[in-house]
């Protein structure tokens, strides 16, 4: 089972802190990979404007690197910042790594007055176009292209990858950091298959196995939404379902749990919005997840969430104090990230819970599926 760690804090911190938590939980992974996602970015040598989308990825060859830079120029993006990691390349196991990049861009002129949705679509299309270019020769991997989001994925032991990219030197700090410590083991090994998964600012990571993967994937692919591609891992659909819930259906975050693990008919019969929720379950039946999973997610506004599978077959715990919270798959992970909290206030969600850390990080919201559903106009 893979290990998960998330820390969110009002003050920026180094991703190395989260890697330390991964180290504490290291019994649970096999050095097959690390995925990191940072939000609320602060660079040591650049005053970053959080409106600028950041392109994260790996150019495996110089040619691909040139291809990337010229493509972005042609599409009208103006480079504002090009981050250079202080590398320790001998610590990286893979050999075809020409360059890890984080590049902040200004959107093309034509998007200046466009709505947030349109800008979001453009960023996603750009990411997908670059990904497609990279897939032609397998020489370019694109993780994310979104304002205030940085992603790193690599094969190897988490701590070693952190050392290789010198993540401890304070060059990059963030207010939110998600880390997952194992490559995909259910399907083929592939850099894209490493958690967290990302689409339009929405990211999730999971420890477990989604056994309903294929029917869910087929349904999402059938939606013909350009971003619903990839699926190198069975867990990628969690991010896409969250995206579908929030962006396509425009439902509140609480609906996510009702979609992936709906209550039974007997439970919904007693629920104040049972009629609406039964209907929602029917129409979203193909999105019901299965198998053991704890899903940890983050949203563009820095909201963090944790939900369990319907049987709570995977561990996950949340702890912390006002201003700083941590979610991890093991208690020792939370201990490593926030040692100065009151551990008696830690919370392990049950099958019906969604734990939400709101952007103000004052206190946790523990929302139960049996609670009245914050209704959209629909119900």
């Amino acid at each position: 089972m893979c290990r998960l760690a998330l820390k969110t804090s009002n003050e920026t911190f180094s991703p190395y802190e989260v890697l330390t938590a991964m180290e504490a939980m290291k019994e649970g992974y096999d050095g097959s990979g690390l995925g990191l996602l940072l939000r609320g970015i602060e660079f040591e040598d650049f005053k970053y404007n959080p409106r600028f989308p950041i392109l994260s990825g790996i150019a495996h060859t110089e040619k691909a690197w040139q291809h990337l830079t010229s493509y972005m120029e042609d599409r009208g993006y103006e480079l504002k910042y090009d981050h250079r990691y202080h590398m320790g390349p001998n610590l990286i196991e893979a050999e075809d790594r020409f360059r890890y990049f984080l590049r902040a861009y200004r959107m093309p002129e034509r998007f200046r007055d466009k709505s947030t949705e349109e800008r979001g679509e453009e960023m996603m299309k750009t990411r997908l176009a670059l990904r497609k270019i990279g897939e032609e020769n397998n020489d370019l991997t694109i993780f994310s292209f979104w304002p205030d989001v940085v992603m790193i994925k690599e094969v190897g032991w988490p701590m070693q990858i952190g050392d290789a990219l010198c993540l401890h030197d304070g060059q990059i700090k963030s207010r939110v950091c998600m880390a997952q410590g194992r490559q995909n083991t259910n399907y083929g090994i592939n850099l894209y298959a490493c958690h967290p998964f990302f689409i339009q600012g929405i990211a999730t990571m999971t420890n477990g196995e989604n056994t309903a993967f294929v029917p869910i994937k087929e349904w999402l692919v059938g939606k013909k939404y350009p971003g619903y591609v990839g699926y190198h891992s069975d867990s990628e659909v969690f991010a896409h379902i969250l995206h579908y819930t929030l962006k396509q259906l425009k439902l509140p975050l609480e609906a996510y749990k009702h979609i992936i693990t709906p209550l039974s008919t007997a439970e919904l019969d007693k629920h104040p919005q049972g009629d609406f929720l039964k209907g929602l379950r029917d129409v979203c039946r193909r999105l019901i997840i299965d198998g053991p999973n704890a899903v940890i997610g983050t949203l563009p506004d820095e909201t963090c969430l944790l939900v369990m599978d319907q049987k709570k077959l995977r561990p996950a715990i949340v702890g912390g104090h006002e201003g700083t919270w941590a979610i991890a798959s093991e208690i020792c992970g939370v201990d490593a990230m926030i040692p100065d909290r009151d551990p008696t206030l830690d919370f392990q969600p049950m099958r019906e819970h969604t734990v939400i850390v709101p952007p103000d990080r004052k206190e946790l919201t523990i929302w139960s599926q049996h609670d009245p559903f914050p209704l959209p106009q629909a119900a």
Binding site: T185, N186, A212, V221, G222, D282, V283, C284, D290
Partner: protein, 546 residues
């Protein structure tokens, strides 16, 4: 050499070894009680007087001679009309194990005479193909081993229901909720449905036993089983009872029974589970129901609104069938309106290479609640042998194609496809059904298996019995003759229905648990399927394993 005229040999003469079933009778055990001859539905055996030579050799007198003994014993008739059907009722009633019907191992010459008076062979049952079916060969092989604690089929909670009814897209659902639009009715049902067998094809005892069992499954066991009536309506008291909610009413091209149904609508206590419009049947595509006069009893005549004792061949097509678009659209909408748009209405068709075009037509019809596809291995109470054996399309590839077609349109949650035809042919009902579900069916209909499992139907693919069409069912399952159907105790049928569905439920869990599935029925989970046949694997887009 005797002249041919002196012995009675005609072109149609048969002898015992020509018959498909041969009666073996042990005279030394027979007490001449006569039970076998009286139970035999074909009057194939009769008591007859026979003479036996008893050789007698008197050594001292050096005279040779014979004595003769007259005795009464059982003889098998060799005429076509009375040839043994292998039902085995004789041995079932024999107190002394003195008689048994065994399959003839000689070539079956009776086949050449199945055309008496120019009428081709008609029978009940299903396609006489023996051996493992394709569905039997599909295995479930995506076992969650490395990353997953296995589920416990005995203790964990499983959600095993499926949705019958049109499901909106999530976007459309929310839009209609906001704007007060019509939300199509759906039912949450157990994915194994008792397929359409009419009140008429089935005896009253069988039919009521099934209904009683279904009610028990729903109300006591919590298994939401539903059953389909088939064409021919439903007893008037059932229409006005709370059990109607477990019943899918079928309307077919003869519209039999619908006068009663329409009259009962204002008095119904609840809505039926659904309405099935039968356009075709897997066992006999291009043929309607063939209820023969033998089975049109007083009760059946009353339910169907016809005179007693007349043949009731339903036309192969609906009278409104000008084109599939028009007919399907019109009928579905009419029936949906008749039940106030509160009951799912879906068509049933024979599996066919053209099934996809029907499906695509339904996708565009907002009232269509699903599609039921019946494959060539489906059973029937009466059909021409040639239809049963050689007409139709196997279910697996038809379902798979239709599902993938819906998936390509992103509609696979919206029109549930139900599959039927040969499920449980060799007894593997849960395995066969789950294979079809993982190929993309939302559920399956089982008819013949239910008759075999709950009432002891004797029919099999060796053409055993298979006389449902002529009303002489020796178990009383498909007969309208009270002397025969009183043999069947409805209470015992109901018990067997409960046994059967409890066992299917357990087996379904035993299939789902190792796959790591418990939250929803694994519809379309084709990654879990494998077969040791490359061509089939390629066609069905599942894994080839060996």
């Amino acid at each position: 050499m005797v002249s041919t005229r002196s012995i009675s040999v005609t072109p149609g003469s048969l002898t015992y070894s020509d018959l498909p079933w041969i009666i073996e009778h042990r005279e030394d055990r027979c007490t001449l009680c006569g039970q076998c001859t009286s139970v035999c539905p074909k009057e194939s055996i009769h008591l007859s007087h026979m003479r036996q030579r008893v050789p007698k050799l008197d050594v001292f007198s050096k005279k040779r001679g014979s004595n003769y003994r007259n005795f009464t014993g059982i003889r098998q008739r060799t005429t076509k009309a009375n040839s043994c059907i292998g039902c085995g009722m004789c041995s079932m009633v024999c107190p002394n194990d003195a008689i048994i019907a065994v399959p003839g191992t000689n070539e079956n010459r009776t086949l050449f005479f199945e055309n008496q008076k120019g009428e081709p062979n008609k029978r009940g049952g299903r396609r006489n193909i023996q051996g493992r079916t394709l569905l039997d060969q599909i295995i479930f092989n995506r076992i969650s081993m490395l990353t997953d604690p296995a589920l416990d089929a005995g203790r964990h909670e499983f959600s095993l229901t499926t949705t019958l009814g049109r499901v909106l897209s999530p976007e459309d659902y929310l839009d209609r909720k906001i704007n007060g639009g019509w939300i199509p009715p759906t039912r949450e049902i157990f994915p194994f449905v008792i397929g359409s067998m009419s009140f008429g094809a089935l005896s009253p005892n069988m039919w009521l036993g099934l209904l009683q069992g279904v009610a028990y499954c729903n109300e006591v066991l919590g298994i939401p089983v539903v059953m389909c009536t088939g064409e021919g309506g439903c007893p008037p008291w059932v229409l006005r009872s709370p059990y109607l909610k477990y019943i899918i009413l079928q309307i077919a091209s003869g519209y039999f029974g619908w006068d009663e149904i329409i009259r009962a609508i204002p008095e119904m206590q609840c809505d039926p589970a659904a309405i099935e419009i039968k356009y075709g049947q897997g066992a006999k595509p291009g043929d309607g129901g063939l209820l023969m006069w033998y089975k049109v009893s007083k009760l059946i005549a009353r339910l169907r609104g016809v005179p007693e004792g007349v043949d009731l061949p339903s036309p192969p097509v609906h009278q409104t069938l000008y084109s599939i678009e028009e007919s399907v659209m019109k009928m579905i909408q009419t029936l949906s309106t008749a039940f106030n748009h509160k009951v799912p209405v879906y068509p049933k068709i024979s599996a066919s290479t053209s099934a996809k075009s029907v499906l695509n037509n339904l996708v565009r019809n907002p009232y269509a609640a699903g599609l039921m596809i019946d494959g060539i291995d489906g059973g029937t109470g009466a059909a021409y042998n040639v239809s049963l054996d050689a007409t139709g399309h196997p279910i697996a590839s038809c379902i798979r194609e239709c599902y993938l077609d819906l998936a390509a349109q992103g509609m696979q949650n919206e029109i549930p496809i139900f599959a039927a035809g040969g499920i449980g042919k060799n007894g593997n009902v849960a395995q066969n059904g789950m294979a079809l579900i993982m190929l993309g069916a939302s559920g399956v209909h089982i008819g013949k298996y239910i008759m075999q499992a709950t009432a002891g139907c004797l029919g099999n693919e060796k053409n055993r019995c298979n006389v449902c069409n002529v009303g002489i069912c020796p178990k009383g399952i498909t007969s309208q003759n009270p002397k025969l159907y009183r043999r069947l105790d409805p209470d015992l049928v109901a018990e067997r229905v409960a046994d059967t569905f409890m066992s299917i439920r357990t087996e379904v869990k035993k299939i789902m648990a190792p796959l790591g599935r418990s939250q929803s029925l694994p519809i379309g989970m084709s990654d879990a399927l494998g077969i040791a046949d490359k061509d089939v694997a390629e066609r069905l887009e599942i894994k080839y394993v060996c």
